[in-house]
Amino acid sequence: MPETLLHTPLHDRHVELGARMVPFAGWEMPVQYAGVIEEHRAVRTDAGVFDVSHMGELEVEGPRAHEFLQSTLSNDLDRLAPGEAQYTLLTNEDGGIVDDLIVYRVGEHSYLLVVNAANRPVDYAWLKDREIAGSDVRDVSDDCALLAVQGPRAIERLGLAPAAAFTFAETSLDGIEVMVNRTGYTGEDGCELLCMSEDAVRLWDAVLERGAVPCGLGARDTLRLEVCYPLHGNDIGPDTDAISAGLGWACALDKEFEGVDVLRRVRAEGPERRLVAFVMEEKAIPRQGMPIAGGGEVTSGSHSPTLEVGIGMGYVPTAQAEPGTELTIDVRGRPRGARIVKKPIYRRED
């Protein structure tokens, strides 16, 4: 039976713009408008806008919200003041990654979690199961729309003042109430604009009016892969731990949270395998699931529009995880050479 796909408030706008719509995590989403490469370049050189309203928003409030989240999320919430945000992980008892997310400290006792679309029900149930008295978890995803405006000229085009990464402020943009978050998934300067669902179309139109190029999930994926941001479900998941994935920096191992014992042990003993980034040395495009000779497999792979070469990430045994190491990827039966590089594969010039 065909699954009924969810629509964001901007669905009609995407169709009007001629976007190619595809199913993604239960949603019908634009994968591209003019073309992945063109959109990718717009974000690297100017400004692009992505509808990411499919992502989930969970509110956690109450006098014990901090205590609750500090014991549930991997990063150290004590380092977060109101108006600041943090990349963090929801971990299971094995140290696996239930989800990766951004937590925003909205007030002293109030937090907003922006989570992956596919994991929204899992995350909500996970938190509800562990909820303590004095901490209330609510799924407010349906009330919210989220637009990522990314690129070196994104902030200027929106007429916003510069601000530090991982901070946020409530303001209005062309008369629309928005929460402006200095976060993103592209490796570029920019922001993510959270607004009420009913304001989404007006905000989208205002952002396009200011010259941002509409961009689909295709470009979002190539942009994040060039800067080696992991994608939950590809590079990380409930069966992979944060240390092996190179996300130890987002885990405060000196505090108590679910799975911390496992993560401490992996850190102490050293992981058996590591998530590495690689660049193809021979003409070929690595894809998710391709075996890597010597053990391991590609978890994300694509053509890099910036470097114009095949790039990817994958897990390899620790002994062969150093930058410079040569890898052989099995590209549908053809062995093709690649080389491990230091992450990120691409870094913007400041």
Binding site: G35, V36, H303
Partner: protein, 131 residues
């Protein structure tokens, strides 16, 4: 720039969205505008080896866009005489000029009767319209 949609009348077409330009005992093969548009801008062409044989209806190579991989199906059978190195070096040539500089391979036909079974441009346009 991607080319505008077109299906030249002097070509023969295969329902897997491939075209052939028959020139005596040889033929030049490529993919149609429709195939290139469906895939998006091509970033890789995995060609067959010169001297290998291709079989009508079977894959002889792969084309890839950022998001997708597709087999290239041979509209005719024969021996590979030449691979278009310009497309190997710059695969987007296929989107820019699918029936000209974006050709993929040249073959020597193994069966002179095969081209008769291919679609003409009108029949191929009808096939697209019926999809």
């Amino acid at each position: 720039m991607a080319a505008a949609e077109s299906y030249p009348d002097d070509l023969k077409y295969h329902e897997e969205h491939d075209w052939a330009r028959v020139e005596g005992e040889e033929a030049v093969l490529g993919i149609t505008w429709f195939a290139g548009d469906a895939l998006g801008e091509l970033v890789h062409f995995e060609p067959p080896e010169v001297g290998s044989s291709v079989t009508r209806g079977q894959s002889y190579g792969e084309v890839e866009s950022v998001k997708a991989v597709s087999d290239v199906v041979a509209p005719l059978s024969g021996e590979v005489l030449e691979v278009n190195q310009a497309v190997v070096d710059a695969p987007e040539t296929v989107n820019e000029d699918p029936y000209g500089t974006g050709w993929l391979i040249r073959i020597r036909l193994s069966d002179p009767n095969e081209p008769g079974a291919l679609l003409d441009a009108d029949a191929y346009r009808q096939l697209l319209a019926d999809q």
